[in-house]
Symmetry: C2
Subunit: 634 residues, 2 copies
């Protein structure tokens, strides 16, 4: 209730949107980072005329199947831009939305026609302010000078545990000034409507910096007994206090009743929104006439329709191609795709030269060069992930990628999970994907990470083994616009293996070699990524000893799960229980693939600091180990 004035002014006076087309490209974006206050946003969407939130939806708040879940979810409720609730995420999403606007404006606007021109507004609370992710994203927003990002800090001095005095006494204004923001303080946010209006005007006038408007409010404003208390933070007021609040605020109406004069006042937004969109459509028609090439590109980005045949840009390899680390092969794919996919942009958390993520034909996206496509995220993994969620949800054809060492997905896991939940097709380029990174040691060597993402819903965990599989992983990642992909890539050089293919990757698991007949090998060797080579070597040896051996690349468990039973049986016949898997990571979960009679070779301890070859040998991730295990099971 303390945020009601800000929300009211934004939706009723300031923001440009079309309630009947929540996806109109040039709408202002609004993010409620303090997502637990979502009833306010649902009410505003309802008043503004969005079809997604009807009176019944408001009555079914937080109920099964309703459009009004406990936190705002873009995939449930048109009009909600992103998915918030986990604190700080929304602030970083907003930075991503504003970054996308600045980028597209710089690329497509013309002196006579600015088709990209909107603001991004975000409301965040004390909780968001305490989260590290919000500081990371705010620091980058200041660095990039995102002048059309306007953040309202609902400074109500209350979080769940009580007064923020118990844990949060920093000077937020000073911190944001340090971060390069313009800061405004509205002292009376409960009733100071004109002050809020003036602050927004001032914020818009500052075009080279994002603005933080600190709005001092009273939580639960209007409630005579519970205002300014932690008891209203995440809980309902209760019937008695609701009555008291109604009396206190002079609101004589029944629950959910919208008085006629209020309805009438808000009703103009449907017509106004239609006009705004129609005007923009006319503007875009002009643009299309004058700049047909740019318009075609822009339409691909704004519609999500990828250019036909984009996948033909992907390279293919033969076993004769020179050995290469999959991180380098990934860079080849990224650079090939960037030429054909106008919406591909991204970068690394200060590891571009290790992650191999630079797009060579583009420069750096900086404050004064926002048309470029290499984003320098800094050492801010968590912010990077959430910013990419914002970019992906800005326009369906924007394809953000971001990169760090695979082990540091731990820093950004909350953002990756939201990618999966909110259906943001972010591509996570995660290099140095095992003990194969060597000397940096156990702090940098992922072990349980593959398993941890295989267990996460709606995400694709891909671990390609060579050039063709890396290309296949990119084909899958780009095609999946509503499901994020994680590519686990090697630091070390790997050979191109016979039998690998882009098509194979799309099936999740497939046979790369087999000297058996009748779908009855003596043993099936299964590998992923850098260990597929080891499985192939072991197979050669075993075949020399007369065994019928199948080698299966298991690049993505999720994709294999989606195949038909017949296909699954053709790769892993139920009758063949002699199975050995090898992967330089936790064996957790592998019983599903190798069965209780099979063997899973992996690493169920932390890594070590030493040259990669030495660690592989000491940890028993070797062809010899596969051969021994194979002999044991068949």
């Amino acid at each position: 209730m303390g945020c009601a004035p800000m929300g009211h002014i934004l939706y009723d006076e300031v923001m440009r949107y079309n309630p009947k087309n929540p996806y109109w490209f040039n709408r202002d974006r609004f993010v409620l980072s303090a997502g637990h206050g979502c009833m306010l946003q649902y009410a505003l969407l309802h008043l503004a005329g969005y079809d997604s939130v009807q009176e019944d939806d408001l009555k079914n708040f937080r109920q099964w199947g309703s459009k009004t879940p406990g936190h705002p979810e873009n995939f449930e409720t048109p009009g909600i831009e992103v998915t918030t609730g986990p604190l700080g995420q929304g602030m970083a999403n907003a930075v991503g939305l504003a970054l996308a606007e600045k980028h597209l404006a710089a690329r497509y606007n013309k002196p006579d026609n600015d088709i990209v021109d909107h603001y991004t507004y975000v409301i965040l609370g004390d909780g968001c302010q305490m989260e590290g992710i919000a500081n990371e994203a705010s620091s980058l927003a200041g660095h990039l000078g995102l002048g059309k990002l306007i953040a309202f800090y609902d400074d109500n001095h209350i979080s769940i545990d009580g007064d923020t005095e118990i844990a949060f006494t920093e000077n937020v204004d000073k911190r944001f000034e340090g971060l390069g923001w313009h800061v405004i303080w509205v002292k009376n946010g409960n009733t100071g409507y004109d002050d809020i209006r003036a602050a927004i005007k001032e914020a818009k006038a500052v075009t080279d910096k994002p603005t933080l408007i600190r709005v001092t409010t009273t939580i639960g404003f209007g409630s005579p007994n519970k205002a300014n208390s932690y008891s209203v933070h995440g809980s309902a007021l209760g019937a008695k206090e609701v009555d008291a609040t109604r009396k206190n605020l002079g609101w004589p109406y029944e629950p959910f009743h919208v008085p006629e004069d209020v309805k009438k006042h808000w009703s103009r937004h449907v017509a106004e929104g239609a006009t705004l969109e129609a005007e923009w459509n006319a503007k875009f028609a002009e643009y299309e006439k004058k700049y047909p090439e740019e318009a075609a590109e822009f339409k691909s980005i704004s519609s999500g329709q990828l250019p036909a045949g984009w996948e033909k840009a992907l390279p293919t390899y033969t076993p004769e191609s020179p050995a290469e680390a999959t991180r380098n092969l990934s860079q080849t794919c990224l650079n090939a795709l960037a030429k054909t996919l106008p919406g591909l942009l991204g970068g690394s958390a200060d590891l571009a030269s290790s992650n191999m993520t630079l797009l060579k034909m583009f420069g750096d996206f900086q404050k004064d060069t926002p048309e470029e496509r290499n984003v320098r995220f800094g050492v801010r993994e968590h912010g990077m992930g959430a910013i990419c969620n914002g970019i992906a949800l800005h326009s369906p054809g924007l394809i953000p990628y971001c990169a760090t060492f695979f082990v540091f997905t731990d820093y950004m896991r909350a953002a990756i999970r939201i990618s999966a939940l909110c259906e943001a097709g972010v591509i996570y380029v995660m290099t140095h994907d095992s003990i194969g990174l060597g000397e940096d040691g156990p702090t940098h060597q992922p072990i349980e990470h593959l398993a941890s993402f295989r267990a996460m819903p709606n995400i694709l965990m891909l671990r390609p083994a060579d050039g063709n599989e890396t290309a296949g992983a990119y084909k899958v990642a780009v095609a999946n616009r509503k499901r994020p992909s994680i590519l686990a890539l090697s630091r070390q050089k790997l050979p191109h293996l016979a039998g690998t293919s882009i098509d194979g990757v799309e099936k999740g698991a497939y046979i790369i070699s087999d000297n058996s007949s009748g779908n009855k090998p003596d043993v099936i060797l299964i590998g992923t990524g850098s260990e597929l080579e080891i499985a192939a070597k072991a197979a050669e040896e075993l075949r020399k000893g007369g065994k019928a051996v199948r080698v299966v690349s298991f690049v993505s468990w999720e994709l294999f799960d989606e195949q038909s039973d017949a296909y699954k049986e053709s790769v892993l016949p139920a009758a063949v229980s002699a199975r050995v898997s090898i992967e330089a990571g936790s064996t957790f979960g592998w019983e599903k693939i190798v069965g209780s009679k099979g063997k899973a070779i992996g690493i169920d301890r932390f890594g070590a600091s030493a040259p990669a070859g030495k660690i592989y040998k000491e940890f028993g991730i070797t062809a010899e180990a596969v051969i021994t295990a194979a002999k044991e099971v068949c």
Copy 2:
């Protein structure tokens, strides 16, 4: 090399330590948060006379089995306090170390005898500064007024991708002033020894605030061709440039040669350290004489020897005890243990009243009440975890616990992983552990989290079902001082089940009821946490139908893995393949337990916003589903 002056001054002039006893209680603590520069610390430990780093260890930098891994690891190298490398962690560890010092000093020092009195020093770089975790921890350090924390910010303007200008242009000084720190700038950190000395003196004089000393340095200082370049960030100089650097710095000696005058200069630290410890020992002997009770408590904390019989404080329950959420049962355990364990302290990330973590007999640890044991971490999960690592590694008898919703382990996963790696016995109290939290919806409902931690090395993932099991989980968590524990606890009320026990929990999995004979049940039903009740209900029904049914509580996979084969066979006989598991989380990994002929009931999608009972029903987490599955498998 840019940090060498700071390191030299700290180890040679400022810090109080005893090289021959790296664990002397009252030593100053030093943390190299910029852990990739660890060769500097190894060299300083070697010069200072620590036995852990010999000349051979320096020569075997980053090699298999050496004491000098690629990043500093406390569990490998005595003299290293914590494990750093993942950026920002060390800064938060240092906050934990300083917080522990302030707490113990307030509890145990007497006007005539201050047995706790040391500083905590930390060196952090640009990378650490960009990480959100560092801002979280720094904000809390400012709030708590940790005056004996002195941070050196190695301001070298270079990170891996090049000049920090590309991503990091904020005003760090201003941000830290906003965070409540005292800030000093040393303009010439390469050779300004006296300026560094003066800054440390000034920092010590400011007792109510932590101090940030920004030291502007040149990365790779002394290298004529590579100084001030990103190429020296994580890479060696190369033989040629090493030679050039030697010439440039006027250093005529062979590699690894320490000239006699340098040796002689540093040799005094062994004798000085012994004296420092002897003086402190004499002081403590006085203390013990005068304050025997406090001394006994203090010794428990400083030695890690827990009071005999501490586990007797844990409550037990019968099926007649009133139903209770395990988060509430957890609070009962915490409060019971706090009376007997002097080193137990902790708190929540602004969810104390939801996580139920308040110790009722103590007040809040605040700037002016640091003797209290309820820590208010604020909404700073990542910082909280790493601060707890620092507390745990300060003294073996400090037992930090910290809390948030289970799903938000995603925010702090990097810190939890370091707990596991660095052998910090932190207790993670993670409530709201499933869809059972209800209306908050999928952003707040963990799904894959149990699996993701079961796959992590050296950590105990415990999911107790009721009162006895919650007590058992705490017994395990407290006893495991070199392995962190995560307790997944319910929001919803759960009955106390017949057959549960503390002893059972210690075995990881155990039979709670069985109407079979000869270790040959028709079917084994397996549950964890809130679903054990469902398994028990299904068993009752199946038994009515004449089946011999065993119910197994699978509270910790790791503990069960450690049992003898005979015990495992007694719980899960190989001959019984009819097994059904039920858990309100991902089924990933359950094939290991139920086998390929069994069935795992779980949730392999995101949750939903609705009352808990409704979601359980819609997702099929029900006794009916267990009964149906049981009939299918047996």
